[in-house]
Symmetry: C2
Subunit: 212 residues, 2 copies
Amino acid sequence: MEKIKITIVDDHLLFSQSLSFLIGSFKEFTVIGNYNNGKEFISSFSENTEKPDIVLLDVNMPIMDGHETIKWLKENNPELKVLALSVNDDEDTIMKMITNGAKGYLLKDTHPNTFKEALMEVYNKGFYYSEMVSGFLINKLGNNENKITLKDREVEFIRLACSEKTYREIADGMCLSPKTIDGYRENLFQKLEIKTRIGLVLYAIKHKIVCI
Amino acid sequence: MEKIKITIVDDHLLFSQSLSFLIGSFKEFTVIGNYNNGKEFISSFSENTEKPDIVLLDVNMPIMDGHETIKWLKENNPELKVLALSVNDDEDTIMKMITNGAKGYLLKDTHPNTFKEALMEVYNKGFYYSEMVSGFLINKLGNNENKITLKDREVEFIRLACSEKTYREIADGMCLSPKTIDGYRENLFQKLEIKTRIGLVLYAIKHKIVCI
DNA sequence: CCATACAAGGGGAAATATACCCTTTTTTTA
DNA sequence: TAAAAAAAGGGTATATTTCCCCTTGTATGG
């Protein structure tokens, strides 16, 4: 029987190499590629290399992360089945990957047996949704009214607010009057249901608007 | 030849199980134990199980993390050689593990060959310090005057400051007068070279005093 | 063409945070 | 045991943030 071909894209060498051994121990699968980040992976497409049946894609990577990579794949190789694999269990990240076309989302603390099952399901049924992901999906469909969108200018403001600058300095930095900044802030406070600049900083970090 | 015995303590099942396969491929080593967190690991000591030659210890774990675990080991099984293994490359974390007795600190993006070399060195020489860790050590020895230590009460204050509470509310929460809180804040501002509460929040998150 | 929304800018007042000046009591430590 | 350091509290002044209500120009869709 032909083995199911898998490519791993993950910057943690020790993990990806080890995982290759684990997958190698499953008789149905074989690892045909190992890349350190999205950039390396998509570069391999210019050469006419063998296409994998499943791509195991890490979300947090340097150079080109999972989000960018899956977007590129959606554009250029939409037939590839991507299974996201991350330590990250926050709803935003998961939904972003799923909506960009990931066929499943696995946490790195998954049991090897579940992992194998997920690989089989993605190959056979085309997708694998764990309970956690399904939960998020249902939750999302239930109340998709209050989805929060931030304008570019607002994001810029939030980034500057995550510093020891005063609002006056932020206004200068954005070439706006302090009163306009006042407006931005009050808008955001209402929109994000927060009361203080501290809340804004916490929100920004939690939602990865700024990285510290 | 007797194989060198290794125990893995890591909450990421997929990683620890995969790593077992990788280690299994080295003829000099064998994995004799696999635990999800420090608690599970130290519980195994009450039973008279076989002691490993090297413990591979993850830093970030639920229930009982690497820091707590290595402290316990230092007290109760100081002869055990611990090699810390983490994705975390910030100086604070690394130094904390090293000063608590870790024989080395490896990042999870280490190459398998380096990993094997590290295992050999820890077994034979008793320690393995990568360039990065050595760099931090030298840097630390050069200027160990300005080491910042936070008192328990200060840490408690910082945690509460990382919220939308006002200082008055924080004072109530800590059963102190708002003026005492004032003192705490001013002390910290000077000690941490910051000027605003925002700075305090950023410091706290950067140094993992709070987790969000 | 009008209505509506929205970005930019603003006034003033109240609440909160910051800075710098202290005292008293307890605990450490030399 | 005396000096030093830490913990707790206080007063007052200023700066910053927060809140509420307002105007003007400019798109933008019906």
